[in-house]
Amino acid sequence: MIRPELRQNVYIRGDAATPKFRVRELDLFYGTFQALKSVDMDIEANEITALIGPSGCGKSTFLKTLDRMNDIIPGCRISGKVELDGADIYAGGMDVNLLRKRVGMVFQKPNPFPASVYDNIAYGPKTHGVRKKSELDDIVESSLRRAAIWDELKDRLKKSALGLSGGQQQRLCIARALAVKPDVLLMDEPTSALDPISTGKIEELAQELKKDYTIVIVTHNMQQAARISDKTGFFLLGELIEFGGTDEVFDAPREKRTEDYITGRFG
């Protein structure tokens, strides 16, 4: 299912031997409820990794551990190890804000700020200290171009982002995430609120972006996972049941439960 021609574009940043993310024995509790059970996963750079599973299986929760967005949930407690380029992101010296700058996130529902298109994109760079107007202009343009939405929006940069269609809003949010120059893009069911055409555009965009970014996408749409991802992880009740190349997981799953889910016996 992976198009070989895309494989050729892959280049690895940093040490080829270390994966982008190395997750080891990750446990996560909400209060006394254990939402993730000893998850191990290596996420390779410049690939799209899809996380699938029935709702409530922990796939979104897992995604949020990668940029520490779970920290803001009261009663959420995590043990285990998550390394980004070999550095433990839960270690004392880690600056959460810089981590989240490196690991961008796109949410299930498009969530542009109630401000202009321009201000939405410029928000991140401004947060991280970019003040010069010309520099911001450049970032806004390049981010929108990367998100393949520049042509649609270049004439309405000063208009409110809330006036855009859902699909445009979501691509704007991707552009907003790209504006802070991340390495990784986390996408939490980015197309679940969109129509098929917008969904197609986002998928195409993801394919394009993986040349430069590592992408982890949570989806409840198995066809989507099969279409766009290189690796797939299947979560069930907080456990990572199966993780491997998308072809193997979909064509020859090792686990009976994976097969049952993929063939639609539950979910």
């Binding site: 803001i72 989240r100 700058k101 961008g104 969530n111 700020f113 109630p114 928000y123 991140g124 947060t127």
Partner: protein
């Protein structure tokens, strides 16, 4: 028509009439106040009345200029906003985005107490406690713009806090999360993302506070000094329009009385403008 259908219609009319009472009240209040002010203003001259700083009803010829009082109201209002709004907004952020739940259960009743204290008690507290403090530390009589600004700044706190807090709470979580996901700190997310997102509610809270200050009477009259001269410093006393009315209405007759009622009319127009402002802000907020 059956009896029950008649009853339904009759009661609907009754309900509609009670709703119309509100419109009637506004009209009646306008009519009575303006009916008494317009002749007085006509006699004094509108320009003279609004812009002259000479108020001397006992002189011959008497002069009735409320320019000083308008200036006084503006000074005191500005002072109260300068003190009350920043603290109120920061406090709203505290209540909505910082305060842990157990502490909230203590802080919320505290702001409610602030809202419940009658203005006469604020006035007395200002007169007995804050005015002497100002007098001892900064000089002057203590009955001053500064004193009134402090007391009124405290009085608008619950309005600013309450309305802004609910505006912040009404925001969806997604703005905060979106900001955090871009690497913003908690403060950055709250003040640079959520505050702009909640701006119509926050602006409303400020304008409501403004209305409260402009209209406040009893607290002001006890602490503002009530001098009819233009102030030179924050430590000088002034007269606001409200305190002006309360002070002199008890003994004023004829044109003097008319001039005081006309002062109330000016106050009324101020408040109408403020109300229109609130409506405009709300409409703009809804259009978003």
């Amino acid at each position: 028509m059956t009896f029950s259908a008649f009853k339904e219609t009759a009661m609907k009319v009754v309900f509609a009439v009670t709703a119309a009472v509100f419109i009637l009240c506004v009209i009646v209040i306008c009519v009575f106040i303006f009916a008494r002010s317009v002749p007085a203003i006509g006699e004094i001259g509108l320009f003279e009345f609004l812009f002259s700083t000479e108020w001397a009803p006992n002189n011959t010829p008497a002069s009735y200029g409320i320019g000083t009082m308008i200036v006084g109201t503006c000074f005191v209002t500005a002072g109260a906003l300068v003190i009350g709004v920043p603290i109120g907004l920061l406090m709203a952020a505290f209540m909505a985005r910082y305060c842990p739940k157990p502490l909230y259960k203590v802080m919320k009743p505290m702001t409610n107490i602030l809202a419940g204290i009658p203005s006469i008690v604020y006035g007395y507290f200002g007169m007995m406690v804050i005015a002497p403090l100002i007098r001892d530390n900064f000089g002057g009589t203590g009955y001053s713009i500064l004193t009134a600004s402090i007391v009124l700044g405290i009085m608008i706190l619950p309005t600013v806090i309450g309305v802004s807090e609910s505006a912040l709470r009404a925001l969806p979580n997604t703005y905060y999360e979106g900001a955090l996901a871009l690497g913003a700190t908690h403060e950055h997310a709250v003040f640079m993302t959520e505050f702009p997102a909640a701006r119509s509610g926050i602006l409303t809270s400020v304008v409501l506070g403004l209305g409260r200050v402009v209209g406040e009477t009893m607290a002001v009259v006890m602490i503002v000094g009530n001098s009819t001269a233009l102030p030179d410093s924050l430590l000088d006393g002034v007269r606001t329009m409200t305190s002006h009315i309360v002070l002199e209405l008890g003994y004023a007759t004829d044109l003097h009385r008319g001039a005081l009622i006309a002062t109330a009319a000016v106050l009324f127009v101020f408040i109408l403008f403020i109300n229109l402002l609130i409506v405009a802000i709300r409409r703009k907020g809804r259009a978003k």
